[in-house]
Subunit: 242 residues, 2 copies
Amino acid sequence: MAQNIYDDKGFFAEYSCLPRSVEGLAGAPEWPALRAMLPNLRGKSVVDLGCGFGWFCRWARENGAANVLGIDVSEKMLERAIEETRDPAIVYVRSDLEHLELRPASFDLAYSSLAFHYIEDLRRLMSQVHRTLVDGGRLVFSVEHPIYTAPSETKFVTNSSGRATWPLDGYLDEGPRSTDWLAKGVIKQHRTIATYVNTLLDAGFAILYIEEWGPTPEHIAAHPDWANDHHRPPFLLISAQR
Amino acid sequence: MAQNIYDDKGFFAEYSCLPRSVEGLAGAPEWPALRAMLPNLRGKSVVDLGCGFGWFCRWARENGAANVLGIDVSEKMLERAIEETRDPAIVYVRSDLEHLELRPASFDLAYSSLAFHYIEDLRRLMSQVHRTLVDGGRLVFSVEHPIYTAPSETKFVTNSSGRATWPLDGYLDEGPRSTDWLAKGVIKQHRTIATYVNTLLDAGFAILYIEEWGPTPEHIAAHPDWANDHHRPPFLLISAQR
């Protein structure tokens, strides 16, 4: 079972203060890019893998989805999701994505934001997601970018020319990384872009689009501290079709 | 027109001494991975984009290809390719890949080794390659990996823990990079993995497989100086189908 860090009291308190937890989708700078990859949701059945506070579930309903299933392993996150949702067409289920069983041909869209990099057995999960989609159904997801998850030290270093550089190492060493992000010892799974893509292809998906997300000049003007994200993208976004 | 550095006298002399120039395919450590991505060539028509000394053209014929067209912009390389080829089913043509026109539905396989990162207009070339393949035809190619082509300084740096790290910057800044590799001022085009993939998809290809190539433990045992290539892959290999 993957670590359930979101139910760690300290982590949860810190996570709850992030812009994306306070403002929802509008607080996630990569959201417009991810939204642009979504199909029309009108009348569609949607599953959100790692739904957290349920922001996307509610957005999907507001944008025409017929019904939405939100799945998360975190009890604390689902408690708040349920509190903030007044819509009988949204159902939340607590489940570990590592062991999830989904009914065949049940959804038009599987969505996931920043959850798959916690998963140890991505192959199993992608096979489940493929199975649960109807023919032509879509998988749209984001993960932390492999260049971001790889290194043993994850702080920018100023080089001899005064430039900020990302000290990349271990890119091809796939496996767990322990980082101190909001709490000590948060475990994420590093895998390469090739592994994400090939795992999808092996599960039977066709790749539709990939984005290595970085801040736009407008983002950087508004948040100068994001400038370094242009040197190494923080997020990888993928759209695939069954 | 892309720079034709291979006809630079100094560059050519240096390039001719590389293991891959002396030993051919066996001198290229990524060749077994690229070979594993090839379809069965028996009876097939093959085009090699950036054929250099013609090693792959001859290999393709030895492995059953019916005919092979080798294309390169370098006069010096084609001179040696022609000298070393005694096979009327292999034809060499001098052409700049930037302006190449290929006949529709003429090839079963388009192959390219470490040439596309010199191309400025990849979109145009991919469209030409798609057009020249028969339905179901394959494109298999390698390029320098985007993590390798991106940085402003391309030497490993030892960090405070004594680890070798690759000082990545500018990953999302696509465009030319001037490097001093075998000669001064060699121009390569940096683009992201997403751009390679999306350009193929936009041209009408389906992605079949991606490899971010790094040395195996056996490679590193035989060539200890390759160990750092495990930290940032030197090559990106892609297989796609029309």
